[in-house]
Symmetry: C2
Subunit: 338 residues, 2 copies
């Protein structure tokens, strides 16, 4: 059996975020769906960038943000995702490695450019995203390093991977390898429109136990079960999933197991600046707790703390050491040592 | 005579900043001179980036930051500086145009990449900069659009332009054209080490009245006159310059004319996050006041306000409308209309 070298391996789209502030009427004028992620082609990417105000570039990508959060908490984290050998690819690679994450996926030598996500942050802190997937969509099964997967206690996958055909195959391979090695597989549903696109397949992943742990927010969960009634969706999820966590913004999170559901409060925040990465960082804290043998409630508290840090500044990567923050808040992220 | 279409034309190095937080001992270990700007070659740029933590990319460049500040205050501003036709060149061009600044300098089709400035921000908010000039050093006299220069009330030049030979010639051409058109020429000394490199030439620019208005901070002024005694340096500047403003961080600024020197207080700041751009934004406010016919004290107050905004967040470009901020603070940036 392979030695567990990593707590978590994240697999997802390797993306650099291009972030600008915008007013709500800007979103309306440009026909943008507030709070969601829309896939765009290169022409639309150019049009959106032209319309965008002065921006800031910060590495992003959902699962990538999560593993960076894990590393900041002190976990041994790795990432798998595809960039091109171009300047944004270098930026992405630099930032994730500088954060302490192992990242060895070979960059594409040709084909489309490194993925960008154009993010408009409205005055309420909500983010509206448009993603040009570029090189990220060419993550292939051959990019999945079976030894790396087998060496990680948990493989964490983002639902966004389900959009490109190649990445979907890579996702399946990773899940198979992980289970064959006795590892756990976690999935985040990513976005309600992503759920709309892949509902049956996501449900199948959960019901077939290809996925051991599911992360969702309220709108994704409602989209999964096509209901406006949150409680019905929770009840359905309880029968379908072995373990799930539903994030509910300022109302905290809900841990769902066969036996019970449990609400864990959100962490108080002085001012929400940019919600980008809130779900990603919640997952980081929760996975950290899980990897280190905390109980589920403690794991969710750590998730809440990590999410609180990231929504108080621009960008989806932590700006301070989450491990130090956890210790300051008595959450003792490092208490359960290997 | 050319119509005055712009309040200010800034000419400087077109740079994208790569910003990361660092501890003081990091600077010591890497032999970096805290608080200064060091020019580096490509090999050193790679070495520094490798050593750098997770970073954020934000458009910068001293004079470029100033004209963006001017536009944010409601001025008609233009910029001249050289990027390459590459991704960072696109980023720079997008950001400055999106800020409302006219920017038409043709990008270089080949040669070195768009300039980058690696900025380490220590916990005290001080920034330490390393600049790879790349394409910026190839700003040539032919890039200076004489009509554009003649159409701007003030031409604002950064001392950093004195480093590359081509840019220096471009600087001289711009100053000549401006004066021939009856316009004013302003210069910032940029950095004390830059002053060390070009002391005699800078003094000559001031004494020959090639420069009508000089911006400096305390260490630049002391470097200019090679003295540790601030008062002696001020006295010398008073005889040499028609008009000068010396910024003194939290102690405000000093307006120096033949007739008198006058201290204007700094604007109170809750917390200094990153001092990058403080001088650039002070210049923006001061130039705005000057362009719109405010008295010098009011101009310096506006400079202090703009500088206060930019040091309270990461990056050297304003994050909020400086015009709105000025109005909120009763400075009425827009009071003197054309």
């Amino acid at each position: 059996m392979t030695t567990q070298t990593y707590d978590v391996l994240g697999i997802g789209n390797a993306i650099v975020d291009v972030i600008a502030r915008a007013e709500d009427d800007f979103l309306v004028r440009h026909g943008m769906r507030k709070g969601t992620m829309t896939l765009i082609d290169e022409a639309r990417a150019h049009a959106i960038y032209d319309a965008m105000g002065p921006a800031v570039e910060i590495s992003g990508g959902s699962a990538a943000n999560t593993v960076v959060g894990l590393a900041s908490l002190g976990a041994r984290a790795a990432f798998c995702g595809k960039v091109k050998r171009d300047l944004l690819g270098e930026v992405f690679t630099h930032d994730i490695r500088a954060a302490g994450v192992t990242y060895t996926t070979p960059p594409a030598a040709d084909g489309p450019a490194t993925a960008r996500c154009y993010i408009f942050v409205t005055p309420d802190g909500e983010r509206t995203m448009h993603t040009y997937l570029g090189a990220a969509q060419h993550l292939r099964p051959s990019d999945i390093d079976a030894e790396l997967v087998a060496a990680a206690g948990i493989v964490y996958l983002e639902g966004y991977l389900w959009d490109p055909e190649d990445a979907k195959a890579a996702f399946r391979k990773a899940a198979d390898v992980a289970h064959a090695a006795g590892r756990r597989v976690a999935l985040t549903l990513s976005d309600s429109f992503c759920v709309d696109r892949w509902r049956e397949e996501f449900l199948d992943l959960v019901r077939s136990r290809t996925v051991d742990l599911l992360f969702a927010n309220e709108s994704e969960l409602k989209a999964l079960y096509q209901t406006a009634d949150f409680d019905s969706a929770v009840a359905a999820l309880r029968t379908d999933a072995a373990l799930a966590v539903v994030t509910m913004s300022e109302r905290g999170s809900l841990i769902i197991t066969r036996e019970r559901t449990q609400t864990v409060p959100a962490f108080p925040v002085a001012r929400v600046v940019d919600t980008t990465g809130a779900g990603d960082l919640f997952a980081a804290g929760f996975l950290y707790g899980l990897a280190r043998g905390s109980d589920l409630e403690a794991a969710a508290r750590l998730g809440a703390l990590a999410a609180a840090e990231v929504i108080q500044h621009l960008g989806a990567r932590p700006e301070t050491s989450l491990r130090a923050l956890a210790e300051e808040n008595g959450l003792e992220a490092g208490a359960v040592e290997r």
